[in-house]
Amino acid sequence: MYVLNSILFYFFSALAIASAILMVTRRNIVHAAVFLITTLLATAGIFLQLQAEFLFIVQVILYVGGIMVLFVFVIMLVNLDVSMRLVQFNRQWFVAGALALVLGAQVLFALWAGHTSLRLPAMQVDISPKNTEAVADALFSKYMLPFEIASILLLVAMIGAVVMAKRRV
């Protein structure tokens, strides 16, 4: 069981990281989008491997099936074969990349230090099989208010998007 689990995990994480790197470096936006989708799917796989089926489904339906479709849609509306031939990285790319790496290194150092010093407890063996029900309970009892607020946020975002994208408001 553990073997399968770890195989899945390392496979998915390798996939995720690889396609993330590709996503950032691709010249063709559609390819980038496809690689991002791959990353997301890999992440979804990791969720599944973490026995969070509901989040897996949410990830797939919302992220892959919703948001990314929106991205692809917009990419196709905005024809980009012009910008595809231009330089893809801005003037500050070298500094920026370096600094980002520095930031990553810092966090890595922090994690490493934490790993050695304060030992994170191992994972629980198993959480309740009825993951969906558990999430639902938490969502509708403990996190009712944030849930409502999130829905308001969505409404506002919808209106904003409509106003933004409309030709004649």
Binding site: N5, M23, L36, L55, F71, V78, F89, L111, L120, V162
Partner: protein, 100 residues
Amino acid sequence: MIPVDHYLFLSLALFTIGVIGVLTRRNVIIMLMSIELILNAVNINLMAFSRMWGSVDGQVFAIFIITDAAAEAAVGLGIILAFFRNRETVLADEMDILKW
């Protein structure tokens, strides 16, 4: 069991890649996608911790983050569309009207 740290390393890697993307790519759409990547990294952390403590709170927060991402994508892409209509470009360093 896979130690939690590995999840953290994974998410760190994704996060860094995302930051690099946001900082260096000229194409606004790819910047947005990188932001999605960052959010994703955060999600991984949350899931890992939720699994670690055996409580679903982390997952709930992940759901909120995904909601947030949806909203952000919708509005951001709307803005990009509007901008493209006016300026015929999606390059971040041509959007420097923020200066004034």
